[in-house]
Symmetry: C2
Subunit: 178 residues, 2 copies
């Protein structure tokens, strides 16, 4: 693809867990070209300026496979909300509650959104190709994640609404089985 096409289709592919504007895409393409991983070939167009379509070189494909065989690094959570919770007594509760409610809505929205995509792409819940299996699994962890965080937001809201000490064993047991 060309940089322009990548920029346009980025959001609808891996855009849910990775953001990149067009500048960064062009930058990364330049880096890859400099390293010999990709090659750009001009494609003449009528009615529009020509575009520079990049394709993997043999070297690039090898590097890709090599990268694909590397162990992944489990990412950190890195949510500033968690830092706030770590020092909960240093902050006002009300804005935090508002934030938690906004977050709850946000994660519910994302969950619904992923669900729509899932129903659209995999109405039977079945992936027929290897590529589809990967995309389906990506959707699955997205769904799980949003549902998990949304549930946690509810728990957090009820915990900070009551005076401390009212988060009881009962809640724990419900959570540990849920």
């Amino acid at each position: 693809m060309s940089g322009y096409e990548l920029a346009k289709t980025f959001d609808s592919s891996i855009g849910f867990f990775w953001k990149a504007d067009h500048q960064q895409i062009y930058r990364e393409l330049s880096k890859l070209r400099d390293r010999g991983h990709i090659e750009g070939h001009e494609v003449v167009q009528s009615g529009k300026p020509n575009k520079l379509v990049y394709t993997l070189t043999a070297d690039g494909r090898a590097a890709l496979r090599h990268w694909g065989a590397r162990p992944s690094t489990p990412p950190m959570i890195k949510d500033d909300l968690l830092v706030r919770l770590c020092a909960l007594d240093s902050f006002d509760v009300e804005p935090l509650r508002a934030d938690l409610m906004a977050r709850l809505e946000h994660h519910r929205d994302r969950f619904a959104h992923y669900e729509r995509i899932l129903n659209k792409l995999f109405p039977d819940g079945v992936a027929t190709t290897v590529a589809d299996t990967g995309k389906l699994l990506g959707l699955r962890i997205g769904l799980r994640h949003e549902r998990m965080v949304a549930e946690w937001c509810e728990e957090a809201l009820s915990a900070i609404s009551k005076p401390p000490g009212v988060l009881l064993l009962e809640d724990c047991r419900r959570e540990n089985n849920g």
Copy 2:
């Protein structure tokens, strides 16, 4: 605290979702001091070099409260494993399966670790102070997260082990209720 003390205690406090080595801590302390948010006072010690203990200024405390009232930004997942899944057909399956198994073990370990901390800090599952409530909630989302990812790893392993198309409605239903 002093930079040295912060560096030592960082891992056992918010260290699970935020990493910082001592250099970065000193750097951030310098920034905060330059902005007037903290003040350093030398504390004489016997048997060791003196230390520079930093304390919040009134300005710093105000800035902290202001920061605490800001809406949080929901972080992206940003797991390179997900990128691999998005282009699953471009990679070899075996290293990916190995990676998934390592990840499964990793997240199970973290889950067990959080559970131990939870049982140690909150043997009754009850937080008695506001500060404890925050820490408990942090542990809770950590537990939820590790359990969720571990379950997803199992699902992913079974999905990539079978030929495509065998990830059935049955699995979906189990997940959507689980």
